[in-house]
Structures are given as structure tokens and as C-alpha cells.
């Protein structure tokens, strides 16, 4: 079927299998490889993108489900000022090791801070609960989200 949606601010019109995974559409057809495939079954969050500002797992999102929506991947999000603040917070707390989970975790961070400008520890952990990281042990990531929130509030 023909699917039309906005991707990182630009209109996209393309052919896709209706049940094709959004992750494959992004990575294989549109060559946006920031969203990663970890588990392929919605458990790890490495493929997280924003659809209409809400975090979703691209690996279990059918292409037909994004018709008429605004999709933001890490490639589009990295051009924002909020991204710059989050990136620096991740650097400053050492929240990135191998980096495979990082694009998804950055998208989750945006989702958390969009909903809670001043998130509690519980809100941060709950917001990150769908993202797995096998390197950091999470503590530095939780710190990074809190730090990014603080810096965004102070701006």
C-alpha cells in the first residue's frame, strides 16, 4: 500500500507492505539506521522512535500504523536544542558505553522530560523501564535524565 507520513519534518510518500515493520522501513528503505534492532519483539527499546511525540517501538509498529502521523527518529531529533542538552548530560554522567541502546534511550529521555519537566526518580525509572542497557547498570542513565531535566528547566 502507499503510505504517507511526516518523517523528521519532511513529507514521505512510499510503497510499503502494510504489516512491514516500521523499523525495516526506516533502516532498509529510508536508510535511517539510528533506530537499532535489539530483541525484535518490543522488549528492549533499542528501536524506539516518536510517533506524534509519543515513544513507540518501531520493531512492532506496522507501516500502515504511521499513515498520517509525524515520526521522529534520532536522526531528526538530534537537530533540536533539547537533544544537545540531553547529549551533554549523557556525556557528563558517563551514561553511554557501547552505545547500541543509546538512540532508544535518548528518545525515551525526551518522552520522560516532555511529560515531566522535573521528573522524580520513580518517574525516570518508570519511563526507562522499556529500555534495556547491558553495559551501564542504568544508574548513570537515570542521573543523565535528571541532569538533562535540570538543565532544560534552567535554560
Amino acid at each position: 500500500m502507499t503510505i504517507e507520513f511526516r518523517l523528521n519534518g519532511s513529507q514521505v510518500t512510499m510503497r510499503a507492505e502494510p504489516l512491514a515493520r516500521l523499523l525495516d522501513v526506516l533502516r532498509d528503505d529510508l536508510r535511517l539506521t539510528g533506530a537499532k534492532e535489539g530483541c525484535g519483539e518490543g522488549e528492549c527499546g533499542a528501536c524506539a522512535v516518536l510517533v506524534n511525540g509519543r515513544i513507540v517501538n518501531a520493531c512492532i509498529t506496522p507501516a500502515a500504523a504511521v499513515v498520517g502521523t509525524e515520526v521522529t527518529t534520532i536522526e531528526g531529533y538530534r537537530g533540536t536544542r533539547r537533544y544537545a542538552v540531553i547529549e551533554q548530560a549523557f556525556v557528563d554522567t558517563g551514561a553511554v558505553q557501547c552505545g547500541f541502546c543509546t538512540p532508544g534511550i535518548v528518545m525515551a529521555t525526551e518522552a520522560i522530560l516532555a511529560e515531566h519537566a522535573d521528573p522524580t526518580d520513580d518517574e525516570i525509572r518508570h519511563g526507562l523501564s522499556g529500555n534495556l542497557c547491558r553495559c551501564t547498570g542504568y544508574a548513570t542513565i537515570v542521573e543523565a535524565v535528571a541532569l538533562a531535566g535540570r538543565r532544560l528547566r534552567e535554560r
Binding site: M1, P18, E41
Partner: protein
Amino acid sequence: MNGRAFRPATLAEALTIRGGEAVRPVAGGTDLMVARRRHAPAPVRLDAPPLFIAHLSELRYVRLDGDRTAVGAATTLHDLADSPGIDPGLKKAIRWFASPAIRNVATIGGNICNASPAADLLPYLVAVDATLVLQDAGGAREVAVREFITGPGRHVLTDAELLTEVRFPARDPVPRFRFYRKVAPRRSNALSKLSLYVEARVEPNATIRELRMAAGAIAPTVVRFDEAERIVEAQSTAALGRLAGDAVQACMRAMNPIDDQRSTAAYRMSATCRLIRRVLEHDLPSWRCHDRSDHT
């Protein structure tokens, strides 16, 4: 399938398509897409073109009427939890449902129609006697959620019908004891080994009213513990120490757990019994209606 799919613009159009040929209704797709994944042990192939319905605004609403709450079947769990006036018991179940990313997509109707014995919303919906509106191009009927699900993945929806609305009966504003526990290996994104929902009113003189208990993943369908409810109904919380044993025995008779990749029948049985005993002997008697903490 060759890419055939339907993405109707209106509910009426969806019902016409549904009545006209074999289609597979797809809401959030969060279970279907996992079942179809390439490395699945036996990837699911659809035997009919998908009929996408989650985008239909006519199926996405939460209405609080005087005598009931009506929820459009394609309402996402996020939107449901975010709606004012939603029962705290339901909110508790949603908080343990998958992850934020999946709750942004998964729908209440999908969780019901998937009819998993481990479905996270079903213990609550079965406990409160939710009803479902099943609609076809010619009209609608209303069935109790307990009658709707007949086995794992099986329900009474005809090939021409769609689940369009979920209704919860009126809840008086009296504070209630509410307990929800999902037993699983991970806080998020886990499928239940078992899950338990219990609610009750406790009158000022400590009489228990409207005790409702239901559990998931311990039988082919979600189980309502009617017999145990009758044992405890109208008794005093002071009598729970004496009654809990009988109530747990009654619950055991309603369970029929299996061994599977997530747990064993023996664990499911013993853990569910111990949870119920703990609720009846400890949590419910020690609960006070002015205790506004979010009891988990």
C-alpha cells in the same frame, strides 16, 4: 496476502468491509507483530488481509456517563490511564502493563480480543463485570466479558463483528480496597506467571462488601473466584483469619494452571494461593478507607 490491507476512514466503512469478506482486525498490533517476527519459533502468517482499526477516532474515547464508563475499543492504554475518572484499580493494572512505548500503541480492545489467559487487563475487567459492545453492519449486542472469552485466544466475536466499546458498570464513590499484583521476572514488558486483582468495600463496622477477586494465567481463561467471594461477603474483617483457609481452598478449586515456558503449574498454584491468603489475612483487614496511599 500480497500487501492487501484495509484502512477504512470510518467505523461504518470498517463494519462493511468486515461483513463483506474475511479480514483480520488489527488494532495496536503489539501482539500480532511479535507473533509475526522473523525469528519466531513459528512465525504467524495472516490467513486474511488486515483490517486496521486503531486510527478510527470513533473507537478512541473515554466517556464517563452517570451509570457507567464507556471506553472505545481502540483507546490506547496510555490514553485510558490518562483519563480523569478512571477507576484506580484499572490504573494499577495499566501501570504494570508492558512498557510506556507499548502502552502508547496497545489498545484495550486488542488486549481483550487477544484473549490471552495472561492478559493484563482481564482480571480487572472480569472482576468488575465489564461488558463489551460487539457491532456488525446491522446492529450491536452487548455481552459480559466473562461470556466473551471461551478459551486461550478464543472468543465469541463473529466474522462480521468488531468489538467497539468496553463498559464498566457504575462504581459508587465509596473508597475501596484495591489490590493488584503481577508476578513476573521483570518489572516491565513481562508476561505474567500469574496476576491477581482484588477489590472490596469495607463498611465502618468492618463488614466486607462486594469482594471481587479474579486472577490471570492460572487457567485457560481469566478466573473469577465467585465461591471464595461468597465465603467472605458480608463477613467482618475480624473473621478473615478464620475464613481465609476456606476461601483459599475455594480459589484452588477454580484454578487449572499449566506448565509453560514462563512458569510451572505448581508454582502458579502455590503463589496464587499465598497471595490470596496474604490479601485476606493481612492487606484487607489492615486497610483503612482513609488510607489514600496507592496500595499495590
